[in-house]
Symmetry: C2
Subunit: 247 residues, 2 copies
């Protein structure tokens, strides 16, 4: 294996299967050697159980039963773990074979898959938003989404920008949803939490400056399940076919 973890990160972003691995004989590993995969597993477990804020070098290594310094033979820095995490998440997405007749349904499904992956690991979409755009697995997902939209007859430029907008929205939605969920576990209950409390808050606003917020407090705070998500995705998707190629 390449001695320098920087080279390994570069390799991860480069073409797959391009050698670089299968170096030393896969002979007897003595105990359980630290690998990038095991690091990723441990990190995902930490995020799943304690949230993204709890993802520290030390929490990962303690889940791994090793010392913090041991990680740095395999990763460049902490941001590198984000890269691994998002890569793993993307690798588990199932990309459908594009069906021109069902492109709307297919793109919605991929977005829902992404959303659910994000929500399974609360806060992890923060990492997705900060991700550098050359991660191989994210490119694979982009390719899949692009294929769906092109099959649906969407103009290439329209499709490219739509994927960008969809990705941003999904990540933002998951981040917001995760944070609401996390706050509900927080013992520091000084923060407003439930929908009822939010409505009360809105109704306590001065009538003169906030007439609409007060009148429609219910609408503003509604959206159980993924209604808001479905709504926004419909807005983004339903217009695509009508789009002339953007200037």
């Amino acid at each position: 294996m390449a001695p320098d973890p920087k080279q390994r990160r570069a390799a991860r972003h480069a073409q797959p299967g391009a050698a670089t691995e299968a170096a030393t004989t896969p002979s007897a590993a003595r105990k359980p050697p630290i690998t990038v995969d095991r690091i990723t597993d441990a990190a995902l477990q930490v995020v799943a159980t304690q949230g993204y804020d709890a993802l520290t070098i030390r929490s990962v290594t303690s889940a791994l039963g090793t010392a913090p310094s041991s990680l740095y033979a395999h990763i460049v820095n902490k941001a590198d773990i984000d890269d691994l995490l998002i890569g793993r998440l993307c690798s588990e997405l199932v990309l459908p074979k594009p069906d021109p007749a069902r492109w709307r349904e297919q793109i919605r499904d991929v977005c829902a898959q992404i959303r659910d992956q994000y929500l399974r690991y609360p806060g992890i979409s923060r990492a997705a938003l900060a991700m550098v755009p050359t991660n191989l697995e994210t490119l694979r997902v982009n390719e899949g989404m692009l294929a769906i939209l092109l099959a649906g007859g969407i103009q290439p430029q329209t499709a490219a920008w739509a994927i960008d907008a969809l990705s941003l929205y999904v990540a933002g939605y998951a981040l917001e949803t995760s944070m609401v969920q996390q706050r509900q576990k927080d013992p520091d209950a000084t923060w407003v939490l439930t929908q009822d409390q939010l409505v009360d808050r809105f109704n306590a606003l001065p009538q003169a400056a906030f007439p609409n917020t007060r009148r429609y407090a219910t609408e503003l705070t509604s959206g159980t399940g993924h209604q808001r998500f479905d709504f926004a995705l419909a807005l983004l998707i339903d217009n695509l076919a009508r789009q002339a190629p953007p200037a």
Copy 2:
């Protein structure tokens, strides 16, 4: 003034002008006393010049010429500074008087204002995404956007969810744009940066797995100025009037 900064934060999120201030006589302040406003000014200056990542308690206090501990008489914690920052940003937005004939233009303009404020302070939209939804100034902006959409004849529930989607997208877009800009200043040039380099990257991908990414590399990386932003906003906005009230 309330001795406990927690009470002050609560007061900021409560109704404005509701007393709580004008406490001790506004007599002679000896030098320049630390105030929440001065903290906000200093923090904004730090973010504007060095980016959101450089926003630390110590960077704020050094810009203020004081010690880190001095801040904690005025703020609860670092997250509180985010709250102040976003509040200030929102307070500087100009909300138009709703004009039913020009509601699309008006909502687009407000979103563009938010976008430009975010971009003036690189990375600050991270704070906006994490913001608790009861900040008074953000509520004021929401009220203004709601008024525009309602004047445009949009259903209340549709309007409420549309504002949510728009806010998420604008924040995500600004975050992404800010990070690209920051990476361009970064001396660590091992990262791929320019559009040309990105196209090269895409073209280096294996043809079998990435046919569309390769063929439309140009489209995927295009979008100068705010073309992508305008495109996404158009998708979100142009369908609103057609919406039946969501279930």
